[in-house]
């Protein structure tokens, strides 16, 4: 198990967004969280990546506690521990958030070299391997504005992979892509899973979830409505809300 989320609660002002969300992710597993917009999908991802602090709950990443519920509130890891946890987490943003003033190569090696002290040579070697794997070798010296949406996404994946994460999160990976690129990103995600990385992807793209996910969680109004294997989920959709969403 590389990620465990237990009894997660989060409110913005007085508006509860997450109400007791729990799930787990195994190494090499592809888990899709699906649900309508506003259901709390992005908040889950932001909590898991410590971009938003949860109110209550426990998040464990590869044996380390990002935050731990002590019965009244959630206690977060200290700074040095947090850095170790960050290393285990990769996040590909919906709009990628590449650094526009840095070349593709710089985007990838910046954090390993300047945050984690990886020797330059090793960082560049790893980056070159990633670029090769993602078919971007000729783009190493390009800048983000020169890339297409699909290429930017692959750079974002390379950047997130540069620290050898155990968990890779992808926020709406198909939303910025042309339809014909969806199979490509599906294959890339499968490749990452084969390396033993746990993949957590959030999407409202049912067809894509069906194509790539091993397991699906449906979330609505801050609660998990149903979580099951893909076959069960798509074969036997009982819940009314899920059916309604699927029909949309």
């Amino acid at each position: 198990m590389v990620l465990r989320v237990e009894n997660l609660y989060k409110s913005f002002k007085d508006n509860p967004v997450l109400k007791n969300v729990s799930f787990q992710l195994q190494a090499g597993e592809i888990l899709a969280i699906i649900g309508p917009s506003g259901a709390g999908k992005t908040t889950i991802l932001r909590c898991v990546n410590n971009l938003t602090n949860c109110d209550r709950g426990t998040i464990e990443v590869d044996g380390m506690y990002l935050c731990r519920d002590d019965g009244s509130r959630s206690i977060y890891a200290k700074q040095d521990e947090m850095l170790q946890i960050r290393k285990k987490l990769g996040l590909v943003f919906q709009n990628f958030n590449l650094f526009p003033h840095m070349s593709v190569m710089q985007n990838i090696v910046e954090a390993p070299i300047n945050v984690f002290g990886t020797p330059r040579e090793d960082a560049f070697k790893k980056a070159n391997e990633l670029l090769k794997m993602l078919g971007l070798t000729d783009k190493a010296d390009s800048y983000p504005f020169e890339l297409s949406g699909g290429q930017k996404q692959r750079v974002a994946i390379a950047r997130a992979c540069a620290l050898n994460p155990k968990v890779m999160c992808l926020d709406e990976p198909t939303s910025a892509l042309d339809p014909e690129l969806r199979e490509g990103i599906a294959l890339t995600i499968e490749d990452l899973a084969k390396e033993g990385i746990g993949i957590l992807l959030i999407t409202h793209d049912m067809a894509f979830a069906k194509r790539v996910a091993h397991r699906v969680i449906f979330i609505d109004d801050g609660k998990i409505i149903e979580g099951s294997s893909k076959e069960e989920f798509f074969g036997n959709i009982e819940d009314n809300r899920i059916r309604k969403f699927m029909a949309l």
């Binding site: 960050r86 990769g90 943003f93 958030n97 910046e110 300047n114 504005f145």
Partner: protein
């Protein structure tokens, strides 16, 4: 005429010397201070934020000439005395840092919040995020506005005459009165234009250095 200009040169060069000293010192000190001002202005620490807002209001809301006069002639009344040049530099640096601060604030606010998120998930500290990710992008954005201020600054240096410092325009006026001729002022105008042209060329080059990305 050329020989007349030639005879004016020693006085002009001495004036130009003061002008360039005030200009360059103000730039060197007020730009970094401006970055700090912008951070104070954006700070969530309420007292700091309010103090910086008040400072910006006063500095932008009163004439620079008045600020120079106040610091050189006014502060001695309460026992704080500066020599002419120091008084002038304090006024210029404080005044320009306020303007630069507001320019930097605009630049910082225009950076997408996603850049901070991306830096955070990659483990950057807030300091490193600012230095390595945010500031380089801000500099590109604010460059044209900074260039504008810098060109204003070269002409604002003429205000130092008020405390009796001999800068370029003053040298021209003295010669103009003495010789009952407008030609010294024409020469002063030409020198200002030459300086401005030089600054514009420098900024053009500088902006070019940042044009490698959008």
């Amino acid at each position: 005429m050329i020989s007349y200009f030639y005879r004016l040169m020693p006085a002009m060069i001495s004036g130009l010397n003061t002008t360039l000293k005030v200009f360059s010192l103000t730039l060197i000190l007020s730009i970094p201070l401006g970055v700090l001002v912008s951070l104070g202005r954006l700070s969530k620490i309420k007292p700091l934020n309010s103090a910086v807002q008040l400072y910006i209001w006063v500095m932008r809301g009163t004439p620079l000439l008045l600020q120079i006069v106040f610091i050189f002639f006014g502060l001695p009344i309460v026992g704080i005395t500066f020599d002419r040049f120091t008084a002038v530099m304090i006024a210029f640096v404080l005044n320009y840092a306020a303007y630069f601060g507001e320019i930097f604030r605009g630049g910082i606010e225009s950076i997408d919040k996603g850049q901070y998120d991306a830096a955070k998930v990659l483990g950057f500290t807030p300091f490193n995020t600012f230095i390595r990710i945010i500031l380089p992008q801000v500099i590109k954005i604010v460059m044209p506005s900074i260039a504008n201020e810098v060109i204003t600054l070269i002409k604002d240096t003429a205000l130092v005459y008020v405390v009796g410092l001999g800068e370029l325009l003053r040298a021209g006026k003295i010669a103009s009165n003495r010789d009952a001729s407008l030609m010294p002022l024409v020469l002063v105008g030409i020198i200002y234009l030459a300086l401005t042209a030089l600054l514009e060329a420098i900024f053009k080059k500088f902006e070019g250095r940042f044009s490698y990305y959008h």
